[in-house]
């Protein structure tokens, strides 16, 4: 530690440049992770906000809620832990506004999903022509009391409430009543919902033509979701590997330049252990300071980023990524250790 600190202090510019490089790498990885997470959440925020464990769908719906229909008979009797969901894609229109693709979710206002919906402003849906919408619609200029048309029906729906984090398939969610869902789908008789969601981990349907999935399974099957997350995970993984190589190369060069000095210390009887300690602690000091500054930059970014950009700053995920970077850097810092151990003190005794 002594040697490491002294060297960083003396070589301010060199250490500063290496720290700057690590700051940029960690900042890049943090921001990309947050973007990936933000985008992933836009697929699943709504479903996550319901805190459900099991989803029952029509068995021929290919695990897609939008393609699923359940009849009253298929739904059967429900407990307080189950709720019905009617999902469909809609286009929202209003005079003076751009058309907006959204996801309509019909709820039964006596069941837990509707009851537990956390509103930012306004009140819950009480009638068929009322809706509660994701607060991203505020950015489009909608307010409480704004009236919108869904698809090409002439009916106007009034926004009576705003809720946060209501996103599904990267589109804002419009919550309404199940009967509205039936109307939008043109189903006057027959299907009563798309899905039964349950907070009971052991909920299982026995009805003909239905199948129960875990929520995780349904999310995984969201169209495009897996392709998107795989792409991001691969990108971040490659970035990690590339940063490992870059950091390793820099630390390697840094150490190689010091080998003649280390040889002298070996002549003087300073044990290899001290030199290895100096090398490793220097790597750790540089990487940790880089990560700290990268984190500060990320926090600043999180504070100033416009809400329209889908970024999610999740502390556990970012900590894991930071720890990953630290491990990568440590591996990078360990590579030159072999050269440090093999320093030949004899080389210093002049010819």
């Amino acid at each position: 530690m002594f040697l490491a600190l002294k060297e960083i202090k003396k070589e301010k510019l060199r250490s500063g440049l290496i720290i700057a490089m690590i700051v940029l790498i960690s900042y890049l990885i943090f921001i990309l992770t947050s973007l990936a997470l933000g985008l992933a959440r836009q697929n699943t925020d709504a479903i996550n906000s319901w805190h459900v464990d099991q989803v029952t769908l029509n068995s021929s719906a290919n695990t897609d809620m939008r393609q699923s229909f359940l009849t009253a008979e298929q739904v059967g009797k429900l407990t307080k832990k189950e709720a019905l969901i009617g999902e469909t894609s809609v286009v929202a229109k209003a005079a003076g506004h751009k058309q907006l693709s959204a996801v309509f979710i019909g709820l039964d206002d006596t069941q837990f999903v509707a009851k537990n919906l956390v509103l930012e402003s306004g009140h819950q849906v009480k009638q068929a022509h009322q809706i509660v919408v994701d607060d991203s619609l505020k950015l489009e200029g909608y307010k409480l009391g704004s009236r919108i048309k869904l698809n090409d029906s002439q009916t106007r729906y009034t926004i009576v409430g705003f809720t946060k984090n209501a996103k599904m398939n990267i589109a804002p969610v419009v919550y309404g009543q199940l009967t509205t869902w039936q109307t939008l789908r043109g189903l006057t008789n027959g299907p009563v919902a798309s899905a039964i969601v349950s907070q009971n981990m052991h909920y299982k349907t026995t009805k003909q033509g239905t199948k129960t999935y875990s929520t995780a399974k349904v999310i995984e099957k969201l169209p495009g979701y897996q392709a998107q997350t795989t792409t991001f995970v691969m990108m971040i993984a490659f970035l990690m590997v590339i940063s490992l190589i870059i950091i390793a190369v820099f630390l390697y060069i840094l150490t190689m330049q010091k080998l003649p000095n280390y040889a002298v210390l070996r002549v003087q009887g300073i044990p290899s252990r001290v030199l290895v300690g100096a090398t490793v602690s220097q790597s750790v000091l540089l990487v940790v300071s880089g990560l700290v500054f990268g984190t500060i930059l990320t926090i600043i970014t999180a504070l100033v980023i416009p809400p329209a950009i889908p970024m999610a700053f999740d502390i556990p995920v970012l900590s894991a990524v930071g720890a990953g970077l630290l491990v990568m850097a440590l591996i990078g810092g360990l590579i030159p250790i072999k050269s440090v151990l093999n320093v030949d003190p004899v080389s210093v005794i002049g010819g």
């Binding site: 002594f2 040697l3 002294k6 060297e7 202090k9 003396k10 070589e11 003649p260 000095n261 002298v264 210390l265 070996r266 002549v267 003087q268 009887g269 300073i270 044990p271 290899s272 001290v274 003190p345 004899v346 210093v348 005794i349 002049g350 010819g351």
Partner: protein, 223 residues
């Protein structure tokens, strides 16, 4: 008993046709308070001798003893410790760590070997004798060659070793400084009661020496 002795040391590098017999039955002793000078042309085996004397290389045969402790047959770690404790090296180029101030060069020794080093007063005395007490907060890069060499000598003295081994200490110095360094090494021996062994091909150091040896094709003879 002498503080430092080399007995019947032979050094052979390589095998078969590439075999080189570099040191032949070398015997050498040094007493505290004396300066021994080993002279010899380039390639005669001086550096090999110093490497073995300093415990950096185990000789093909023979033994080296410092204060009654034998080097030979010791592990690398034990030899490190013995070197740190008992041998001060003064190298051809001064080889101070560029990122440590003069004061920190000594502090590093304290970190590795907390006991048995010079006390603050003793160190101040050494620094004053060497005329470098003003330079304590400077980095080696801010010092002249002669100043760096004096710092390197102080650094070698700091762990209070029994012997000081110097490898061509005047190689990088101009004429006027050679005499100064010779006197310095001599005063080290006398004032600090060290066995000082200097390996050189610089004949200008002869007047400072108590004992003079000559290395010729791997044979060491006393003059």
């Amino acid at each position: 008993m002498s503080s430092f002795s080399v007995k019947n040391v032979n050094q052979i590098f390589g095998t078969g046709t590439a075999k080189v017999h570099v040191l032949h039955d070398v015997n050498f002793e040094a007493e505290p308070g004396t300066l021994s000078l080993i002279m010899g042309p380039s390639g005669s085996g001086k550096s090999t001798f110093l490497t073995i004397a300093g415990g950096l290389l185990t000789p093909t045969s023979g033994e080296v003893t410092v204060n009654g402790e034998t080097y030979t047959d010791r592990t690398k770690k034990q030899r490190d410790a013995l070197r740190l404790d008992s041998i001060g090296f003064v190298l051809q180029t001064y080889h101070l760590l560029p990122y440590l101030t003069v004061a920190d060069q000594f502090k590093l020794v304290d970190k590795v070997k907390p006991n048995g080093n010079l006390s603050k007063a003793e160190l101040d005395d050494v620094l004053e004798t060497l005329g470098i007490e003003q330079l304590i907060n400077k980095y080696p890069g801010e010092l002249s060659g002669g100043q760096q060499q004096r710092v390197a000598i102080a650094r070698a003295l700091y762990p209070n070793p029994a012997i000081i081994l110097a490898d061509e200490p005047t190689a990088a110095l101009d004429g006027s400084r050679v005499k100064v360094v010779g006197e310095l090494l001599k005063s080290l021996a006398v004032k600090h009661h060290k066995a000082v062994v200097v390996v050189t091909h610089d004949a200008r150091l002869i007047e400072a020496a108590d004992h003079l040896y000559e290395m010729q094709d791997g044979y060491l003879t006393k003059k």
